[in-house]
Structures are given as C-alpha cells and as structure tokens.
C-alpha cells in the first residue's frame, strides 16, 4: 500500500528512481581496449558438462542439472521459448518516429509494462559477443544495440533461504522464465516493426550479459566479481537481452560509489561457502580491472552442491539485498552520498542480523531427485551469519584467462590447470598500472 500516487511518473522511468543515480561516461570498472572475445565452450557451466572440472561435476551437470521438481517445471517452461528467440523480420518498416529518445522510451515502457524491474539500453562493443558458438562456428557481431532487461529474483523467498538450499536454483529459473517471456515478446515486436531483433536468455545467448549490464547503466561490478550490482535490487537479479538494429538513444553507465563500498565490505567473501570470492584488491583480468572470483571453485560448488540445488549465497548476503522500505532507502542514500559511512553501514548490516534466514517464511519443499525418484532431502544447508572475518590470502585463488581456456571446439575434457591458474592469480594480483 502506497501513500503517494505514481500517476505523474512517466512509464519509461520504471519502478525505481534510476534517473536520480549519477551517470558517467565510462563504467566505474576500467575496461581496457584489448578484451579478448571468448567461445561458448569456455563458459564454466559448459566446461563442467564436458568434463573439464572432473567426473563428478560432469555427472552432476549433465544428469542432475534440475534435481528439484520446481526447477524441472520452470526449465520445461523456459524451453518452450527455444524457437521464439529469433524469427523473420517484417519486410516493410513500420511508420514509427525518427526521434531516438522516443523510441528508447517506448521500448523501455513496454518492458516495464511487461513487469521488467528495470531496463537500460547500450551499444554493443565487439568484445561482448561470444567468439564461437557451441558447435564451433564463428559468431559475427550482428546487431548494434542491446536492450538490457532486469528481473528481480524476489526478496521474500530469498529472505527465508540460505542461498544454497533447495530453492536456490528455482529462484534463478523463475527470473529466467520471466525474463525470457519479456525478451522474446519485445524481440518479436521489434521484428514486426521491420527491424531485426533477437532475444538472448539463459537458454541461448550470443552475448555476454555482464559488460552490457554495466554499459547500459544497470549497475556496477561488485566484489562478487562476475556479478553486477544495482543500487535498488542489489545483486538479486537476472538479466535478459534483446539485441537489435532498431536505432535508439542509449544510456550511460552509473556510479553510486560501489567500488569504494565493496573495498570496505567483505561480507560476500566471508560468507561464500566455497571461498571463491576474493578478499583482496582488484586485478586485471582479460582487460577488466575487477575483483576476480575463483570461477572453478564457484562452478564446482554450485554444480555438485549436495545439500541444496546450486548457490546464490553471495547475493543473499550482500548488504544491498534489501526489502526496499523507507529505512533501506535512507541507508542507501547515505551509502551513495556519504563515503565515510560506508564501512559503518557494512558493519551495521551484520549487527542488524541481515542475512539471517527468516525460517518462518519458508514455503518450499526440500525435494531432491535421487535416481529418478523424488525424496525429501536428508541434508539441507542451514547457514545464517558468520560473526568473525576469516580472510583468505590471494594465493588460494585461481584465475583462468583466455589463453588458458579451451579452444572453440573440443569435445573431450580440457581439464582446468589449477596450479597454473593459482600462479597466474599471484602474478596478476599486483595493482594494475592504469591511470
């Protein structure tokens, strides 16, 4: 129940006051001009499926990917969209406005009308395209613009979860299904207007979502590493992209002080169940100056988690993952505008026990598929808050830059070289000499 009306707020602005966040020319994460494009084969989930992370991960990834009935249902639904990501483009261009701003506002409004939580638009840099498809064919960048659609994974359910229990995968799948529904609709609509457009979702994507999310101003890269963080939703969202040649006005990246905040806050690193998130400083990785997580550990944990389905504990524990009531907005305002308070806010988050499971709100059932039969799982991750900080040294993390990744086509396992990865990590952990 709201006190004040939203009737004077134009639709394209969406639910959150993103227009009040500072815009900058370049993402707050430095991205150099030599980011290498990577093949889909290098995606860690694909690597797990091909055996690069060992036999156990391969078995779990290929046979038990959806081991809870709700994940199965949601995946089955998403897969009905397989054939509608792309399609024929209308021969004649529709008589629409030439005003690029109007076009952008129209498309954004449409996404908001379709229940997207946020939308941003950017041009697609070449490095955001995968270099090669799963079958090894080279991918030529084919569209100029990206519409980045953000869907919230929902506060209420994650409030009751540990982040790596039996609802975790379904939370992702739910956001994927919603996003796929929106992206496929918008792509189809644009094609009807006479412009090519394709939806890129969890089931099929030719682009890397992370740089596009940054460039379209939907968030900043966080300590979690492979995760963009939005001031209002925190890291609690999934992205879905429509690439198109429909000319539109683009957005700029945002700066809400996150690089400094994450510098002062270690909560995700401390709470990560597999110690994959760095406690240290940023490093240069494939052209990005970022906190680079150990993606092998992270993928392995998610894929082989025996006390839950997958893991998203980092986004559960992040101080930016909030319900969004007035007090949180005030705290957010302070976090953005008063840098000296950031360390305190991060501490306060623990004092107020944010991150503790609200078990009375747990509504899901802990089903697990064991050899074709669902049973109530015997073990469930039941994590709450850690009280002490247990930093890990940088030497325990591995990185796998493009030259250590498998070639576009490689059917056999291409085992990750952990030792070399750890060596690379140490070598790259010196502060980069960017200006």
């Amino acid at each position: 129940m709201k006190l004040f009306s939203h009737r004077k707020r134009p639709m394209h602005l969406g639910k959150y006051p993103m227009h009040k966040i500072r815009r900058v020319e370049h993402p707050t994460t430095h991205i150099s001009s030599d980011v290498k494009r990577v093949p889909k084969r290098a995606n860690m989930f694909t690597r797990a499926a091909r055996g690069d992370l060992g036999k156990k991960a391969q078995f779990e990834r290929t046979n038990r990917i959806a081991k809870t009935p709700l994940s199965v249902a949601l995946r089955n639904m998403s897969s009905t969209h397989d054939d509608i990501h792309d399609g024929p483009v209308a021969v004649d261009k529709a008589p629409i406005t030439k005003d690029l701003r109007e076009v952008a506002e129209h498309i954004k409004s449409m996404c908001i009308f379709l229940d997207a939580d946020m939308v941003g638009i950017c041009e697609i840099p070449e490095y955001a395209w995968y270099s090669h498809d799963d079958d090894g064919t080279a991918i030529e960048p084919y569209h100029k613009f990206a519409i980045v659609i953000v869907t919230d994974q929902g506060f209420e359910t994650i409030d009751a979860a540990s982040g790596d229990d039996w609802i975790s995968n379904a939370q992702s799948q739910r956001a994927y299904l919603m996003g796929s529904t929106i992206a496929c609709t918008v792509a189809d609509y644009i094609r009807q207007l006479g412009y090519p457009a394709r939806a890129h979702t969890a089931t099929s994507s030719d682009v890397l979502h992370l740089p596009l999310t940054l460039l379209s101003g939907m968030g900043e890269l966080s300590r979690i590493g492979e995760l963009v963080l939005n001031p209002f939703l925190g890291p609690r969202f999934k992205t879905h992209i429509v690439t198109t040649d429909l000319p539109m006005q683009t957005d700029k990246p945002i700066d809400f002080g996150l690089q400094d905040f994450c510098n002062k806050c270690m909560k995700c690193a401390n709470e990560c169940p597999c110690n994959a998130i760095s406690f240290g400083d940023k490093i240069m990785f494939n052209g990005y100056e970022m906190w680079k997580p150990d993606v092998e550990k992270c993928t392995l944990y998610r894929v082989t988690n025996q006390k839950g389905a997958s893991c998203g504990r980092c986004m559960k524990m992040c101080p930016f993952n909030k319900e969004g009531i007035l007090v949180h907005r005030l705290a957010l305002w302070v976090a953005i505008n008063v840098p000296v308070f950031r360390r305190l806010l991060s501490k306060m988050d623990n004092w107020f026990k944010y991150g503790k499971r609200r078990v009375e709100n747990k509504w899901w059932w802990d089903h697990e598929n064991i050899e074709g039969k669902y049973i109530f799982s015997k073990s469930v991750n039941q994590r709450d808050l850690k009280q002490t900080l247990n930093s890990q040294s940088d030497s325990r993390y591995a990185v796998f830059p493009p030259d250590m990744q498998p070639p576009p086509v490689h059917d056999d396992p291409f085992p990750v070289d952990r030792k070399e990865g750890m060596r690379r990590r140490l070598r790259s952990s010196k502060p980069p000499n960017n200006s």
Partner: protein
C-alpha cells in the same frame, strides 16, 4: 516505496489482505443446482469466428488479436506454452505433506512467488466444465480441485487508455501471458510430483473461469455481468486455472457487499460504448441470478472495433479500478463496511474525474496491422467520462441461454436470433420481478 516491512507476512497470504474479507459458505450470486453445461462452440468468440454474429465479425475475428503488433507478439509466446497445458504425471509420486492446509499454502506461495496477484482454491463443480470441446468431442470432468490465479492487468497503462483504444487487447494479453506462465509452471510442477494437473488459459481451457473465481473466494460477480470483481484490483484482471487431483484445502467465497454496491452504481452501464451492460435488475440466466449483459453486442463491438483493438472499458471505468493508495483503501473500507456510503462513493468517483485518461502514462504507439503491413490507424477511440446525471438510455438487450445455442459439433454458421434473444430477456426480467416480489412478500 513502502514504509513498513512485509517480512512478517507469510508468502501464501499474498500481496493483498484477502484474509480480512468476510467469507461466506455460498457465493453472493445465487447459483441454482441445475446450471446446464455448455459446449465451447457456444463461446461467443467461437460463434463470431463461425459467422454467427454476421459477416463483418466473422472476417474481423481472425485478426482480433493479431491486428495489434504488440498483442500478436505476446500471443506467440502464449502459443509456445500450449504443449505444457496437459501431460502425464511422472510415474513416481513424490512424498508431500499429509496436511491439506500446508499443501494449499505451499501452492499458493508458489503462485505468489511466480508473481500471481491473488490466488484461491476451490472444488470444481460439474457445471464449471465445458460439455464439449471445439471439435464436438465430449469433455468428462476429470479433476476435483482448482487453483485459481488472478493476474492484474496493471493500473498504470489502463490509466492512460480509454479501454477500447489501440492498447486494449495487449493489456489482456499481458495478463494472459503471465497467467499462462504461472498456470503451466504450476501444472508442470504438480505433474512432476506425480499427480494429475492441467492448466487452463485463454488459449485452451476446459473449464469456465467465472464460477471458479467466485467459488475460490477471489471475487463477486458484478453488474458488468460476465466479470467477477475483486475488492483490491477491481475487475482489472484475467484468470488462469490449474485443475488437479491432488487433494487440497479449499477457500470459501467472499462477500464484500458488491451486490448492493453494483445495484447503486451504474458507471459501467453508462460508459459501455455499445450499451451492452444492463441498467436494470438481475435476471436468471442458465441457473445464475445475475446482471446479464448482451454478450452478442459486447463480442461484436470488441471484434469489429475499428478505432482500437478489443475493449475493456467496463473494467477501466469501474470505481473499484484504483491505484491502491491509502486513500483508496480507506474508501474501499467504507464501501465494504458502510452500506449507506455506497451510493455516495459511486457519485464521488465521477466527481473526482476517475476514469479520465491520464496522458502522462500513454507510452504505446497506435499501430495496426493491415494486409501484413504495420500502419498507423486512421482513428482512435478517445473517451473520457460521461456526465454522471445522464439518464439511462433506452436499452434493448438480448439473452442467449443454453437452449438457444448451437449444437456442440456444428461447423456451419448458426446466426444468433436477436428477436428471440430480446424476447427471452424481457421474459426473464418479468419472471425475476415476480420472483423478487414474492421473496419480498415472504420476507415481510
């Protein structure tokens, strides 16, 4: 932005305080025990497609949804979900709690997790099943329980629309699409657990949604007639249904005083662009005592509307269609608790100019597909509010009860008989007047 936390509210209770409404054992709309089942052939959109409503409606019906590029896109997504409506349950049944209340709370919470707006559960009466499929094959009632899901069509966009302009059908389809997402996911999930379940959406439904919406306690039948009304989202919703064999705890119908409110409010009838909503009293129709609209007029208007795609002006104009601010909740509270305020509230709604289009929120483009080309339509319905004191127009409504509908497998045109329809309406009106008079006498 909210002031107070919802963290103490269990997910199965949903977004709206539905648990605070009065529950009753029978629907506030009287339903007799001899409601006839009807075939899908009798659905007026199907009748329009087969020419029963005339040549124009027949030729316009195929492009009813598809003439709006946006609605067409959503239609495609809905189509993709078709294979997930029905299916065989998995052979191994999963263990689930014995406690029926726990079960129902689980499925409701899941529906809310999937962004449903209001959810309720009821047993499916036999009359809620269609009697025959579109191809004429008989439909055997197969599941005992229904999970009924309401999806808000969204206040903001409707705020800018007239209800019958070039966004109308897209608004319906947005809600249909989400309804289909939720219902098909729920049905898949229940089947995965090893129990029978079927999703019923706008594209494919073996059940009539109206009685189920009432029985599951999600709304009362309104003056609009074929539309149930929820106190919090008004008539601004679409429903989707999951039927299942899995035993569940059911809900009871609600009573928030709507029958009395609608008897004192004529706004939908005044504003209906085709004069299909009755100003008069309820009549008996197929066993329901209801305000019965002229569905032939209504369908023909929606299908042949040349200044927009579809029509949902009644749900735009209803005083219960509100943004949901604190002030609206207070008005709602007095509408429910203080019967003498109802006439005043209906009057106030017009006085405060609710129903006027809000141009700030118009974001869509008026586009129409003509001969496979996207064009700018020549005209658009621009309606605001009519004068509240306007006298009821002379109204001639037709009634098309079960005994006048075509055979289940009839492929040929069977034109509606307007003359008989109007005669039947008049008879039903007189009969009910006698019935009410008799009822009043016994009450005295």
């Amino acid at each position: 932005m909210r002031l107070f936390s919802n963290r103490r509210r269990n997910l199965h209770l949903g977004k709206y305080p539905m648990e605070k409404l009065k529950r009753v054992s029978k629907t506030t709309t009287f339903i007799s025990d001899d409601v006839p089942r009807v075939p899908k052939r009798a659905n007026f959109f199907n009748r329009a497609a087969l020419g029963d409503l005339g040549v124009k409606a027949k030729s316009e019906r195929p492009r009813f949804v598809g003439k709006l590029p946006f609605a067409r896109s959503m239609g495609r997504v809905c189509q993709a979900h078709l294979p997930r409506h029905k299916g065989d349950p998995s052979t191994m049944q999963a263990p689930i709690p014995e406690n029926l209340v726990k079960r129902s709370e689980h499925f409701k919470a899941l529906a809310y997790f999937l962004n449903a707006d209001v959810v309720g559960i009821c047993e499916v009466p036999e009359y809620a099943w269609y009697s025959h499929d579109t191809d004429g094959t008989e439909i055997i009632p197969k599941h005992k329980f229904a999970i009924v899901i309401l999806i808000d069509q969204g206040f903001e966009t409707l705020d800018a629309a007239s209800g019958d302009d070039w966004i109308s059908n897209a608004q319906s389809f947005r809600a249909y699409m989400w309804g289909s997402n939720i219902a098909c996911t729920l049905a898949e999930y229940i089947r995965e657990l090893g129990y029978e379940a079927q999703a019923h959406t706008n594209l494919e439904s073996d059940v009539l949604h109206n009685p189920l919406v009432m029985l599951a306690g999600l709304g009362e039948l309104s003056r609009i007639g074929e539309v149930a009304l929820n106190p919090f989202i008004g008539p601004r919703f679409k429903s989707s249904v999951v039927t299942t064999d899995l035993p569940l705890e059911t809900d009871e119908p609600i009573d928030f005083g709507l029958q009395d409110f609608c008897s004192k409010c004529m706004k939908c009838a005044v504003e209906c662009p085709c004069n299909a909503i009755p100003y008069g009293e309820k009549v008996m129709f197929n066993g329901y005592e209801m305000w019965k609209p002229d569905v032939a007029k209504c369908t023909a208007y929606r299908v042949t509307n040349s200044k927009g795609g579809g029509c949902g002006r009644c749900l735009k104009m209803c005083p219960f269609n509100k943004e949901g601010l604190v002030s609206h909740r207070i008005a709602l509270w007095s509408a429910i608790k203080l019967p003498f305020m109802r006439r005043f509230l209906a009057w106030l709604d017009n006085k405060l100019a609710y129903g006027k289009r809000n141009p700030v929120k118009k974001w869509w483009w008026d586009l129409e597909i003509v001969n496979r080309k996207v064009t700018v339509p020549k005209d658009v319905n621009k309606r605001d509010i009519k004068n509240a004191s306007e006298k009821p127009k002379a109204q001639r409504l037709g009634l098309y009860p079960a005994e006048t509908i075509p055979d289940p497998d009839r492929k040929e045109t069977e034109p509606i008989d307007r003359k008989t329809g109007m005669k039947l309406y008049e008879e039903a009106r007189q009969k009910n007047a006698v019935r009410i008079a008799a009822k009043n006498r016994t009450a005295e």
